[in-house]
């Protein structure tokens, strides 16, 4: 007698996602699906707009990582202009991107995932929340706030205090950096690095407690996609595409981002509005891959900064050989990237050309197709536009980081459910682990994956005739 468990809503972000678990006769999980039921249509309603509006329009795709869309969109516009942006403009854009990584990763680790990591998966949900963390680990909670503040402050210093800054523009940036701002930013970074290293060292002490979760939280033999530098090192803004398989073999390397369509296909399923990108030569769904911090570190030979390189070497030792396949270690990878972001920002800010006044190349559109690829905190972000001769958008495709991870998230949920779900008796700890594996990916859906403890959840266990066998309800306090 097959049964279905439906978790709905998984996400409180307008409540548009749910998880369903299909159980077999013996109560074991046979399949799991992650349904994104929210439809937005950004790609369609951008049609007909002037391409220069795209950075401002697409930055509003996301209230959490607008900087990522701003950068990928402007890179697509640079491509339409057929210009190379001035070197100083590129460095300034990189700093803004790294500041975004800093604040985004800090949010994910310190505030979204730390209650599970510090208070335990099975802790009372009434206290397994950020206030529980503040109570038991106030220093760590303050550290998280401070890192976020430093990242956000740097973004504001570069982009101005306006919401959705227009500082990054097609062809570069619209204003050079002043010495005063440069010095102010540099002053923030030693404290940030101290916090990041302290947190990293602390997290390593927690790892032995989570061996079981590390083995069963989306430990999948997928490929990994990311940008790398021409030397094969960690890259977040530009670079070339690399795909590595689960055994560490490089499947694709040094692929110009403009050729991404040769590598990536997009499938659709009737149970979700999120597309299912896959590695085209292997077909769907065999061509499963992951993106984001885990993929970037698996693909990188080195970070290129002192402390991050030490941390990367330790990261690679989490497994005896090959890439790190456990999605649980996205957390670890985020901490390494925080260290890298701080070190690299310092290096860029100390660059002798960073105050150069030549920061923008001006041109009209010189081709009808533009592709912009950069790394967002959650993974590789692709903006692809076509325009007519008047510069009006005729077609748009956005492949966002969370989309790349869609196949893997579905499999990870299944793995966690297979390990922890008892089909005959639902438990709070099971709910929390299903949520927690989603949080490993830090999907940008999502009040839900960005909420915990009090996230509203309703799980129903039904038999084949649709009769409810068991129900577990957790009521959220917030209805947005």
């Amino acid at each position: 007698m097959s049964r279905t468990i439906s978790i709905e809503p998984v996400t409180r972000i307008e409540g548009h996602a749910r998880i369903s678990l299909q159980l077999g006769d013996d109560g074991a999980v046979e399949d799991a699906r992650f349904h994104l039921t929210q439809f937005r249509g950004f790609e369609k309603f951008c049609e007909g707009r002037p391409y220069r509006e795209m950075p401002a329009l697409t930055a509003r795709t996301c209230g959490i990582c607008p900087v990522s869309h701003l950068l990928a969109s402007n890179k697509a516009c640079d491509h339409l202009l057929a210009v190379s942006i001035p070197p100083t403009a590129e460095k300034l854009r990189r700093i803004m991107n790294l500041a975004q990584f800093l604040q985004s990763h800090a949010l994910s680790f310190f505030h979204l995932s730390s209650p599970d990591l510090l208070l335990g998966w099975d802790a009372d949900p009434a206290t397994r929340n950020i206030f529980g963390v503040m109570h038991q680990h106030p220093d760590l909670a303050r550290d998280g706030i401070r890192l976020r503040q430093i990242g956000q402050t740097i973004i504001e210093m570069l982009g101005g205090k306006k919401i959705h800054p227009t500082w990054v523009v097609p062809g570069g940036v619209n204003e050079p950096l002043t010495q005063e701002k440069r010095d102010a930013m540099l002053k923030l970074l030693p404290e940030a690095l101290e916090i990041a290293r302290r947190t990293y060292d602390f997290f390593k002490t927690l790892l032995p407690k989570f061996k079981h979760e590390a083995d069963h939280f989306g430990t999948l033999p997928t490929m990994f996609l990311s940008l790398v530098t021409p030397q094969g090192n960690l890259e977040h803004y530009d670079g070339l595409l690399r795909i590595k398989d689960a055994h560490g073999r490089i499947v694709e390397d040094m692929v110009p981002p403009e050729e991404f369509e040769r590598l990536i296909g997009e499938a659709v399923e009737n149970f979700s509005y999120m597309k299912f990108p896959y590695y085209k030569p292997m077909g769907y769904p065999q061509g499963i891959y992951r993106v984001g911090p885990l993929a970037r570190l698996n693909n990188a030979q080195a970070c290129g900064t002192p402390y991050a390189d030490v941390a990367l070497a330790e990261f690679h030792m989490l497994q005896e050989s090959g890439p790190i396949t456990s999605s649980f270690h996205y957390h670890y990878a985020r901490l390494v990237e925080i260290i890298y972001a701080i070190e690299m920002m310092e290096r860029l800010l100390k660059d002798s050309t960073i105050l150069d006044s030549r920061v923008r190349a001006r041109a009209r559109s010189n081709r009808n197709e533009g592709i912009g690829v950069s790394e967002a905190p959650r993974g590789t972000l692709i903006h692809h536009y076509r325009i007519d001769d008047d510069g009006l958008i005729t077609w748009v495709n956005l492949i966002i980081a969370t989309g790349h991870n869609n196949l893997a998230m579905n499999q990870a949920i299944k793995q966690v459910a297979e390990t922890y779900v008892n089909g005959n008796q639902l438990q709070e700890g099971m709910l929390n682990r299903v949520e927690a594996v989603i949080r490993c990916f830090d999907p940008c859906l999502s009040c839900a994956s960005h909420a915990f403890g009090q996230m509203p959840l309703r799980i129903e266990l039904k038999n084949a005739s649709g009769q409810i066998v068991d129900t577990l309800i957790r009521v959220g306090e917030c209805g947005a």
């Binding site: 209230g63 604040q103 401070r146 909420a451 306090e477």
Partner: protein, 147 residues
Amino acid sequence: MKILVIGYGSPIRGDDALGVLVADRLEQDGVPEHVTVIARHILTAELVTEMSAVQRVIFLDAAIDLAPGTVRCQRLTPTARAASSMAHFLDPQELLGWCTALYGHAPESHLITGGGASFDYADYRLSPAGEFAMTAMLAEIEPLLYA
């Protein structure tokens, strides 16, 4: 006394921009040296550090449960509900709760909301009722900017 004014809302959703536009107007008109004004799309966690360093916070927001053009002033107290998404906060009281939990104190806090009439797409533009609310909000803020 240090005072922090935080205006928040979406600048492209008509009267939802009230908090942001009132904050912008305050800055343009000039505020006393002890007052800092910031505008945000949403309330985010890192604001707590700035809140912890002042004695008074004034939140500025738009409301749909108020008659268009009218204004409501409330004193706020911290709450320890973990209801927000962390990426953004729906309730300034939760931010105050964070402030208390992390720094042992929260500033005296006020929420001034203006009733909006239209929350449709409009770039930094208010409805006539929104304009009226903006003027009334500015009048309500004035005495709070001084100890």
